[in-house]
Symmetry: C2
Subunit: 372 residues, 2 copies
């Protein structure tokens, strides 16, 4: 059986104020094409369908349409869990009807113990949950974090294993690459509430959402699909796409999905970036974070850059502003106008005024004082 | 066939800050019992399931549970339209799956032209819609309000009539009891955008939501069920409940539903209302609006009344404050302290200071000035 594994759609997300809905609809259509080309038998969506608990109507409409297209138009069984960005209660709407057409959607912990069998595999759909849900479910006050809670969760799932099937966990949590030895290790992998991969060993495959990089975890049987799109500048180097899992051979392959608009990070001088010979070779349509290598003050720099890169999503300087070493207001008040200017110039450009610049400044100041 | 007709649930509504969810869940259970006792074949919910377009999670969960109970546990076909308080987009979630179990839910105008046939009747489920939706659907710029839009809506529905069936319209709009003669009348019944009952004549029955009183319209074949509960002080005299429509005889009966807590409006003196001999005979558990007949200032009046009626939802004076006749600040500044006090007393109690009161006031003022 061939399974497409995707996660972290974050429908409704904005990037620096730019609404990504069109990009999300475009990449979704590419995902649909991959599902069809690969003739998959089912699709896993491992949480964070929405970007926020209270999505706007356009996002609600988009997710509804996407689930409808995959499940009702194209008849794919869907294996879906809610993520931490979803409202479990809101996403749960319609759940009791969805299963009739093979849309299996879990939003509560207890639902995870009702596995779905499709073909050669048994799927355990574990939504994102808070530790308190596990404490209540297992009546065990010691389950103070997800790492601890996963132990009885996995143990209970094991009791439900059909020995003739593959056992696949669909989840939305932070797993870390440590084979834990004791409870302390389990709790504190990297100082975070991470599930140790060793605790997931009973499964033939774990299809995860939560972390946006598909390389977030170095564990063959436990995979993050990564997000549908690059959702922050920190993800510019990540290749986005979906996994196709073959449950017969238990092998997988990654299929990249090209976005309508990429997210890129350019580090260069303003002179270069505003030179047609250079920028015409660049992807001007991308959502673009820019780090300028310049030290000079550039008037209207954002407006000028937006003429070239309409989707500027961030602008900073390589030689960043040192806020921590700023003089106090009391000190600043004692400075002369030219000393203040010099300090300001240093502050914004991380370099000193040249002699010529200081000369011009003094001239301008004298002129201004005369007009006063 | 027996049909239960309800509307205007407004789940999630608060009354003067009091969350009505428990009251709504209680009255819903009484509605369920009526459906069972009366052995109804289907249930109409004519809009405003939610109180607001963005209901909180508790309200979402409650509505989901109610629809689940009626449709999946008790197997009633449901005929549901969205109202102006619902978000059509949000309520639409799951719609394409609901019909498989006989939960027919319409949230868009075009869906109304796909009638549902159950037993001897054909149901046209017309959600609340904006005139622009009709303009787009009929490609007719002249449809500038609901009254005008209803003409082609009804005409189109008539073309879909199955002659062997009853024709029942489920809607959520303002209908008024005028047999219109021309378009001007139709547009301006009572100065509002009201649909004239004459325009609804083709239907054997029109089951409406929108107005909260079941007596809002004096038209035998066109009925508002009224809201599930009294949702404002203006509704205290209204008996709430549901209609049971018999489509064979085209007769109906009203079945009252007693709320967990009533809404009442008491007009009396503070002395009476705080007298145990009197208040013990009253419904102290009700949501209570109080109009005091007193003219004296009563210290801590709200706190004292809440000791007796914990759910006070409003407090005013029968001889209300006359804000319009208040002197201007300029005039007030010219008054002496005792004149100011007299004015204030008149303002809050609608009566003049007695000679004794004025004497005490002057004494207190003299004492205060000495201490100054």
């Amino acid at each position: 059986m061939k399974i497409l594994h995707t996660a972290d759609w974050h429908i409704g997300k904005k990037l620096a104020g730019f609404d990504l809905l069109e990009d999300q609809q475009a990449i979704f259509q590419r995902l649909v094409k991959v599902a069809q080309d690969e003739k998959v038998d089912a699709i896993i969506i491992a949480g964070d369908l929405y970007d926020r608990a209270l999505p706007n109507e356009a996002a609600v409409s988009a997710v509804n349409d996407m689930l409808f297209e995959l499940n009702r138009k194209l008849n794919y069984p869907l294996l879906v869990v809610s993520g931490n960005h979803d409202s479990a209660v809101r996403l749960n709407t319609g759940r009791d009807w969805y299963a009739s057409t093979g849309l299996y959607l879990n939003t509560e912990l207890d639902q995870a113990f009702d596995p779905i069998t499709l073909g050669d595999s048994q799927f355990f759909l574990l939504p994102y949950f808070e530790p308190v849900a596990a404490r209540l479910y297992f009546d065990d006050e010691s389950l103070t974090n997800i790492a601890k809670a996963m132990v009885p969760v996995v143990a209970k799932m094991q009791t439900l294993f059909d020995p003739g099937k593959r056992h696949i966990l669909v989840g939305h949590f932070f797993a870390a690459g440590s084979e834990h030895s004791d409870s302390e290790t389990r709790v504190n992998v990297g100082g975070l509430d991470a599930v140790a991969v060793g605790d997931l060993a009973p499964f033939d495959y774990v299809a995860l959402g939560h972390l946006h990089s598909r390389h977030a975890l170095d564990a063959e049987k436990i995979q993050y699909s990564g997000s549908l799109l690059k959702y922050s500048v920190s993800e510019v180097a990540q290749e986005k796409g979906v996994y196709i899992l073959d449950t017969a051979s238990m092998t997988r392959k990654f299929i990249p999905l090209a976005p309508k608009r990429d997210v890129q990070h350019l580090t260069d001088s303003f002179e270069h970036l505003s030179d047609p010979a250079i920028y015409q070779e660049l992807d001007r349509d991308a959502y673009t974070a820019i780090t300028l290598t310049d030290t000079e003050v550039i008037p209207n720099v954002m407006a000028q850059l937006r003429e070239i890169f309409p989707q500027v999503i961030g602008l900073d300087r390589q030689h960043g502003v040192q806020l921590t070493d700023r003089p106090t207001v009391a000190k600043l008040e004692k400075l002369s106008p030219t000393e203040l200017l010099g300090d300001f110039y240093d502050h914004v450009s991380d370099s000193e005024l040249t002699t010529a610049q200081m000369h011009w400044a003094k001239q301008a100041l004298t002129t201004a004082q005369k007009e006063d």
